[in-house]
């Protein structure tokens, strides 16, 4: 394989016919920067029809090319048709890289078409660097539970496939460029789709599980002794007008649901105030909190990594500090001289 025959950076535009998934736009913006460095075109792969206004949002990210695919088999997300589609497209166009949003669907079909081609697939990179010497993309990602960073490359195969979690990169469109559109018709026989959706029941909206937009987040980390300690953290969150979140190990221990997991494999948050109790500061958690306006960390280990990311730190027992905060807030301790108690 001569990897220099492979050109262009692709982003799969995931959409439901009405709106583009934010991760696809985030990816377009980030990959635009790689394309500028590697002098490759940024191509958006759009399957099926998309309203003009949504297509405009994609164009605003500075894509050079749209590959618009129509045909049978794409009415609902299914790995069979989409795996085939990307296999066919990649063989024809020979892109150097394909980026797919790390949604459940993206994580289903991207590794699968990579396997069929075959080529290498990476997941959950938090940083992408184009290396001019090797002409490879370096996928930088947290490893070993976030205690190390690993650089992953695909040096001898193309395309380089990567799935990226929503919220990893910023949606910051840099403006339109001249864009050409290629039309493709790829039919996948509907009878060969091996999965069928029978029903979909949307989650009942549980406000306490919706932490992405909360102004204040109280996060419990693996230092929490057990679920029996949670009520006080909930109480503190309520007193501050915020919500409770957790780190991945707390979910793994079965203490809190996955929807409350903050970090790269969970929710990326942007609160005004983030309070970390018993959080060690593993990178895959920290990548989810860096947009917080103010970070407070409480950990009994004065050397915990989280103190490197915080604005204010207290080395001490998390339960004790939490209890004390509750006591003071309840006793009418004012957070600010000008304002009443929250």
């Amino acid at each position: 394989m001569n990897k220099h025959e492979y050109k262009d950076l692709w982003v799969y535009i995931q959409h439901d016919g009405k709106a583009v998934h934010p991760v696809s736009l985030e990816l377009c913006c980030e990959i635009r920067k790689i394309g500028d460095a590697s002098r490759e075109a940024l191509a958006a792969v759009i399957v099926g029809d998309l309203p003009e206004s949504e297509k405009d949002r994609v164009l605003d990210c500075g894509v050079d090319k749209i590959i618009h695919v129509s045909g049978t088999g794409y009415d609902f997300f299914n790995t069979d048709a989409y795996t085939n589609l990307f296999t066919v497209l990649c063989r024809k166009y020979k892109p150097s890289a394909v980026f797919v949003g790390g949604t459940i669907f993206g994580r289903d079909f991207a590794p699968r078409f990579a396997c069929r081609l075959p080529t290498g697939c990476t997941s959950d990179a938090t940083q992408l660097i184009w290396n001019p010497e090797t002409a490879d993309i370096e996928f930088v990602e947290p490893a070993v539970g976030g205690k190390m960073m690993a650089v992953i490359t695909v040096p001898d195969a193309r395309p380089q496939v990567g799935t990226i979690r929503p919220g990893t990169f910023k949606y910051a469109p840099t403006g339109r460029r001249a864009c050409i559109t290629a039309e493709e018709i790829i039919d996948f026989p509907v009878g060969e789709i091996r999965t069928k959706i029978l029903d979909f029941k949307a989650d009942e909206f549980d406000e306490s599980l919706n932490i992405a937009d909360a102004d204040v987040i109280v996060c419990v980390g693996n230092g929490v002794k057990g679920a029996d300690q949670l009520p006080k953290y909930r109480e503190l969150a309520e007193l501050l007008g915020g919500k409770l979140g957790c780190t991945r190990p707390v979910f793994d221990r079965g203490i809190l649901p996955f929807k409350l997991v903050i970090g790269q494999s969970g929710v990326v948050i942007k609160p005004k105030l983030y309070l970390a109790f018993g959080v060690s500061g593993a990178v895959n958690h920290v990548t989810g909190i860096t947009d917080s306006d103010r970070i407070v960390a409480v950990n009994k280990d004065p050397d915990a990594a989280i103190f490197r990311y915080c604005d204010y730190g207290i080395a001490g027992d998390m339960d004790e500090v939490c209890g004390m905060m509750i006591g003071k807030l309840k006793a009418g301790k004012k957070l600010s001289p000008q304002k009443d108690v929250i």
Partner: protein, 474 residues
């Protein structure tokens, strides 16, 4: 009768000079937490001052000042007690060991650790394990201090194999009420050398002297262990299995019992339903949790097989094997959370910590439940089936406090009477404090109670150490 003096600004100043302003608080500045332990039903009392001591010498200086001025001194560790032991019911100052929290050194040749009394049990246990050693006493409250454990002779889950805290105290430094510093015991395992003042100090609840340093015996960490859950139809069948388990030469490290009701609460509260509720299609009503240790997997399997045979004979629904480290952690965390769960679910709470002969546990529990029903109080229990130590919690969420206290007193009067009839003890590990004094007197009799009082007087003629506790009346 003892007469105490109030803390004057002058005395406060002297005390403050000993520990420094950072570690001294008085009057309004005393934090509320120093006025109670974890069983507030016995009443709160705010100390006139709190000294956070760091050294034996500071303790000695403080005692000199207090004995000269007849100021009561109540020692406090982590405040996790359940009988008001650390509550200064007769005023005076609280001397907190919370800052004496350093593990001083290990003697790996003699398998002992030298430690300050304010070290938390969980920290000592973890640190010993990191040295390849085990501190055998394992009370449920892991955030108690070791000093508190020694003062109450705490027992815990592993007492059935290893004994209680008393069996692991080799030596200590004690400050007497007059301020004199005294060393008791030696780093050896035998003594036939006069009255054991060391053992008199163990379990004396801060009424005879103040422990400022401890030498504790450790053992090599067991090579392998396994925990087994035996679900039963009900608590009576579960408890009835214990003598057979104890007779089978398994040398279990612990035998705990738990009722379904509290297992369910723990599961709901922690969100982690570790204990299976339906086993082989049958609802479990009670559980026995056994831990076995051995030098090899083969040895353990031999023991487990024997336990399996017994389990079948005594009517256990099954024997579930808790083998992986993470599962052990989950199961024992669920067990350790019981008291927290009860505290969280209950507005008014009182407890008994009786010990009865193992073959009387079931009968005692049935009796307690019946009496509780008669009194209209809700009872929840768990405990150490292997040694007959029961933790029985009297709960109410709807009664008025005074009415609750009245009913609980009536219930407890009956239960402690029953306990005495069964040749049991008033307290297995939570001790007497001021809450169980009357029951102690009734249980041991006037002569023994009088001797205790006389001993107290020898150590503390002015009665300034933890006045009003155990056998001392003000």
């Amino acid at each position: 009768m003892a007469e105490y003096n109030k803390l004057t600004p002058e005395i406060a100043e002297q005390l403050c000079a000993v520990v420094g302003a950072q570690r001294f608080s008085a009057g309004e500045n005393v934090k509320e937490e120093y006025s109670h332990d974890e069983m507030p039903i016995y009443g709160k009392a705010r100390p006139e001052a709190v000294c956070l001591v760091e050294t034996t010498e500071e303790v000695s200086e403080i005692m000199k000042i207090c004995s000269a001025n007849k100021i009561p001194v109540t020692v406090r560790g982590a405040g996790t007690g359940l009988v008001g032991g650390c509550v200064p019911v007769n005023g005076g100052i609280v001397l907190s060991t919370e800052k004496m929290n350093r593990i001083l050194s290990y003697d790996m040749n003699n398998l002992v650790v030298h430690t300050q009394p304010g070290v938390l049990l969980c920290d000592l246990a973890a640190d010993a394990l990191a040295h390849g050693l085990m501190y055998p006493p394992d009370p449920g409250e892991k955030t108690a201090t070791v000093g508190g454990n020694v003062s109450t002779n705490a027992g815990g889950m592993r007492a059935v194999k290893y004994g209680v805290t008393r069996d692991y105290v080799l030596a200590m430094t004690v400050v007497l009420p007059c301020g004199e510093i005294m060393k008791l015991g030696k780093t050896v395992c035998k003594t036939s050398s006069g009255y054991s003042l060391l053992h008199l100090m163990v379990g004396s609840e801060g009424t005879l002297g103040i422990i400022t340093e401890l030498t504790l015996k450790l053992i090599p960490k067991p090579i392998q262990d396994v925990s087994l859950i035996l679900p039963f139809q009900d608590i009576a069948t579960a408890i009835a299995s214990v003598p057979s388990i104890k007779l089978a030469n398994l040398d279990p490290q612990s035998i705990e019992f738990m009722e379904r009701d509290i297992v369910d609460s723990s599961a709901a509260f922690t969100g982690n339903a570790v204990f299976p509720t339906v086993v082989g299609g049958r609802e479990a009503g009670a559980y026995i949790l056994v831990t076995l240790v051995g030098n090899s997997e083969t040895e353990l399997i031999g023991k487990m097989d024997r336990l399996g045979e017994i389990a079948e004979k005594v009517g256990a629904y099954d024997v579930l094997v808790v083998w992986t480290d993470n599962l052990k952690k989950d199961v024992w965390a669920a067990r350790s959370a019981f008291l927290t769960v009860i505290e969280a679910e209950t507005r008014l709470l009182d407890e008994m910590d009786v010990v009865v002969p193992v073959d009387k546990i079931a009968e005692f529990l049935v009796y307690t439940h019946d009496e509780a029903e008669r009194q209209g109080v809700y009872v929840r229990s768990f405990g150490h089936a292997g040694d007959g130590n029961l933790h029985i919690y009297c709960c109410s969420n709807d009664l008025e406090e005074e009415e609750f206290k009245r009913r609980v007193k009536a219930l407890m009067d009956k239960c402690y009477e029953k306990c005495t009839e069964f040749e049991g003890q008033v307290s297995g590990e939570h001790s007497i404090g001021h809450a169980k004094k009357e029951y102690l007197r009734e249980s041991v009799g006037d002569t023994a109670y009088g001797l205790m009082g006389a001993i107290k007087k020898v150590f503390d003629p002015d009665g300034i150490l933890n006045p009003g506790k155990v056998c001392h009346n003000v």
